[in-house]
């Protein structure tokens, strides 16, 4: 009998530390896509609050904290990252194995992302708790600001290696430029 070993999406790739900035993987207990049926957003939000203590987020926002958070990912869709949930009144899909969750923290975090994404990451435009579906170079992703110099990036699991490569190259370039000046 073959014994299979579970591996996280970035198991062989992270953590990294370049230019005092760290890139690390987060492996949550579960990732669940919650898509409320028409007119059921309030019911679903209340059910989520009862289950994990976070409500359904408005477009472009995250609710909750590190242990249980709900990230808006599209019209009438949000990902619950943390314990598995099953609220009534919504289409609920387990996507725990579908996403690579990468956090980038440090002085170069925003600058590295600015090289890869077309959105405005400045602090007064994109505050902690704000989230955006956008591009990380050529791949679609979800970027959420967790703190002043801390971001969470969600990409499809199959894109984990490419995402880490892009972030590594951006950080290396910034590190090299800092050495020159």
């Amino acid at each position: 009998m073959v014994s299979l070993v579970p591996k996280s999406p970035c198991a062989d790739l992270l953590p990294l530390a370049i230019a005092e900035t760290t890139v690390s993987e987060v492996v949550p207990e579960a990732i669940t896509l919650v898509a409320p049926f028409k007119g059921k957003k309030k019911t679903v939000s209340d059910a989520l609050k009862a289950e994990v203590g976070v409500g359904f987020p408005a477009p472009g926002r995250m609710t909750g904290k590190q242990d249980a958070r709900c990230i808006w990912v599209g019209p009438e869709q949000a990902l619950v990252i943390g314990p598995a949930v099953s609220p009534d009144g919504a289409a609920v899909t387990d996507q725990s194995d579908g996403f690579a969750v990468i956090q980038i923290t440090g002085p170069m975090a925003a600058n590295a992302l600015a090289r890869l994404t077309p959105i405005d990451l400045r602090r007064d435009h994109f505050k902690p708790g704000h989230t955006a579906r956008t591009l990380l170079n050529h791949m679609t992703c979800s970027i959420t600001r967790l703190g002043a110099a801390s971001f969470e990036i969600l990409v499809f699991r199959s894109m984990a290696k490419t995402a880490v490569h892009e972030l590594t190259e951006a950080l290396k370039l910034l590190e090299g430029r800092a050495k020159l000046s």
């Binding site: 477009p59 472009g60 019209p75 959105i119 955006a132 956008t134």
Partner: protein
């Protein structure tokens, strides 16, 4: 060119895919007749000036109707297809 996604706000053109004229969402009734269906499937205006397009915002998945000008490339406004009565 920058387009405003009704959910995400103003975004760069590279996040969007062009999906043709917005009349694609005004599908005729199944029994509307050959002329109406021929018009719907094959005939398009080629305006110099104001037009309405469908764009798909890839990252969030929203379909967007964009009012824009083919001469000046000015984008006058946008709304979500989901919010439009059909």
């Amino acid at each position: 060119m920058r387009i405003t996604c009704p959910y995400c706000g103003e975004r760069d053109i590279r996040e969007f895919t062009y999906r043709g004229h917005a009349l694609a969402i005004a599908r005729p009734a199944p029994d509307a007749g050959e002329a109406a269906w021929d018009d719907y499937l094959h005939l398009r205006d080629n305006p110099a000036g104001a037009t309405q397009d469908l764009w798909h915002h890839g990252p969030c998945g929203a379909w967007v109707i964009v009012d824009r000008d083919t001469v000046t490339h000015e984008v006058a406004g946008s709304k979500a297809v989901a919010e439009v009565k059909r």
